[in-house]
Symmetry: C2
Subunit: 355 residues, 2 copies
Amino acid sequence: MRIAQIAPLFESVPPARYGGTERVVHWLTEELVAMGHEVTLFATGDSRTSAKLVPVRATAERFQRNFERNNAPYARMIELVARQADDFDVLHCHIDFHPFSVFSRLRTPFLTTLHGRLDQDWVPSIYRLFPEVPLVSISDSQRRPEPGLGWAATILHGMPERILTPVPAHQDYFAFLGRISPEKGIEPAIRIAAACGVKLKVAAKIGEEDAPYHEEVVAPLLQGDAVEFIGEIDDGQKPALLSGAKALLFPIDWPEPFGLVMIEAMACGCPVIAFGRGSVPEVIEDGVTGFIVDNVAGAVAACARLGEIDRAGVRARFEQRWTARRMARDYVALYERLVAARTPGSRRDFAPVGR
Amino acid sequence: MRIAQIAPLFESVPPARYGGTERVVHWLTEELVAMGHEVTLFATGDSRTSAKLVPVRATAERFQRNFERNNAPYARMIELVARQADDFDVLHCHIDFHPFSVFSRLRTPFLTTLHGRLDQDWVPSIYRLFPEVPLVSISDSQRRPEPGLGWAATILHGMPERILTPVPAHQDYFAFLGRISPEKGIEPAIRIAAACGVKLKVAAKIGEEDAPYHEEVVAPLLQGDAVEFIGEIDDGQKPALLSGAKALLFPIDWPEPFGLVMIEAMACGCPVIAFGRGSVPEVIEDGVTGFIVDNVAGAVAACARLGEIDRAGVRARFEQRWTARRMARDYVALYERLVAARTPGSRRDFAPVGR
C-alpha cells in the first residue's frame, strides 16, 4: 500500500530522547517499510527513516510561547499532504484533530491514532464535531471519556523485538523509568521501595514544567542511599537497568493512555508492579508479566510475590503480544478495511455538511 | 452583503483591555452593521456585538502551555465557518494562516487581514504556500518582508469618531501609552522627556513576557518625579491623558505594522513624536499631526517645534482619515471586488493543486 505517516513536529522521528508518540511512529514506519509497503513520512527534517521523508520543517523545535510559530509547520504539513493526497491509499495521522477539517473532505481515506488522554475539558468541543473521522485508540480505556467518537479500532503499541533484550544480571533493586511528575507516580514509587527495604533506581527526565515539582517535592526524597537518581537514559542503557531490576514500579496517578515503559520492561524480562489505572489492565497480565495493584500497600504485598514470576516467560509474552510487527499488522488490516469502505463517490463534498 | 467576521479567540471582541486586533474587528463589525450589512461574528462567547454572534468558545482564554488546548477552538471555528460558508458572500478572517487550507477550497471568497509583523523566520514556510490567498496589509510597510504574497489592498485602521475626543486641558507633560517592552520604546521615551525637562506619564500594560524586562530595566527608571507610572488604562481614561499631553511619544524600535495608539492620540488632538519605523510614515503627517524623527536627539528637537502644530487640525485630520467608517468603506469596496472576481466554477477543487 501507499501509506502516508503524518507525525508531530515538536520532536524528530524517532525523538532524540523522551517522546512516546514519535517512537511509536518510527517503529510503525520501519515495520511497514520492512513489510514491503511504500511509506512516506511527513516529519521534521532531522528525522531518520527507511521511508521516503518529506521534511516539513528543518529540525524539531519545542513548543514556543508563540501561537503562529507553533502552528505554521502543522498548517504547512496539512497543506502539503492535501496537495498530494491522491498519491496515497491511506493517510495515517498522529497529530490529533488538526487535519480533520481538510482531510475529512479529501478523496483519500485517513485515520488518526490518538496518543493522548481524552478526559480534558476542551476535548468534546472539537472531537464531537467529527464523529465520522476514523480514530484508533491505543487502549480501550483511553476511549472512556468519549465513547461516541468514530472509533475504528484499538491498536495497542508494540516495539521492535530486538531493541531491548534481557542481559544477565543479579536483581537487587527496583526501577522507575520515565518522567518525574505527579501523574507518573515517583512519590509512591519511593514509598513502595522504602517499605520493601529495596533500593530504587530512578531513570527519569525532569521536564521544564515539572522542574518546580521536582525541586520542591521530589529532590528532598532523593537524599540518602535508598534512592539513586540516574537522570534521563537512552535505549542503550535500558537493558542493564531493567534486567537488573526486581521489578519496574509503575504506580501511576492518571489515566495512562498506553505506557510504553511497561512493554520496555517486559522486553527485558522485567515484571511490572503497576497501579490499575488507564491502560494497565490491558497491558499487564496479572501474575504473568507483573502485578496490578490499587495502592502502595498492595504494591508492597506484590513485591513479596515477585518470585512467582518467570522472567523468561515475561520476555516470551513480550514477543507474542508487544512487537512492532504485530502492531503494524493490526494497522495494515485497518488500512485495508478503510480503503475497502471508501466507495467511489463517497467523498464528502465541500458543500454545507454536518448541519 | 452577508459578511462573516472571523476573530481571534484568545481575547473577546472587543477585548477587556489591551488587544489591537480585537478592537479593530469590533469597530469594523459595528460599522458594517451600521451601514446595513448582515454581519455574523465568529468570536468568543463573552464578546459584545451588534452583529449575529456565533460563540466558538464560551469565554476568551489566554495562551496556554498546551498545543491542543490553544488550537481546539480555532479548529472548531474553521469547521463551523466551513459548514455554513455558502450562507455568506464573503469571509473576512483575522486569524492569520490558520484557515487557508480549508477556506481556499470553499466556494465563498475569503480574505485575511494580517495584523502582525511578517519579518519572522517561520513566515515564508507557510505564507508562500498560498500566494493566491487575498491578503490585506494594515500598512504598506508591513508587506515589505513578503512582497510576493497575494496582497489585495492596504487598508489602514480607523476607529469610531466619537470614542475618543479632545477635552479641555492644559498640556504640561508627555504621554507614553501602550505596553512596556523594548520594541515599544519605553526607554527612549523616558530619555526624551528627561532631555526636554518635561514630565512623562506612562499608561502601559506590563505583559507576562515583559515582566522581567520591566523589573530589571524599566522599574529603576520610574523612580523619582520625572516619570509617573499609571498602569493599564481603558478608553474612558484616554481623553484626559492625551488631551493633557504636549505630545504622545512613540519612539518604537520595531517595524510596527500599524500602531493604533497614534490615531488615538490624533482623535484627542494630541500630536505624535514618533521614530520613523514601520507604519509611522503612513500614519503621521510630519508637521501636521506630529513629527517623524530618527532618534532621541531628533525627538528632543521636535519637541521644541510642538508649537507649530494646531491641535484642532490634528483632530480634523483624524476625522478625515482615521475613522472606522472610512475603514469599513475600504473593506466593503474590497469585498465587492472579491465577489465580482469569483466567477462561477472558479472554486478550487480538492484534487491535487499547487504542485
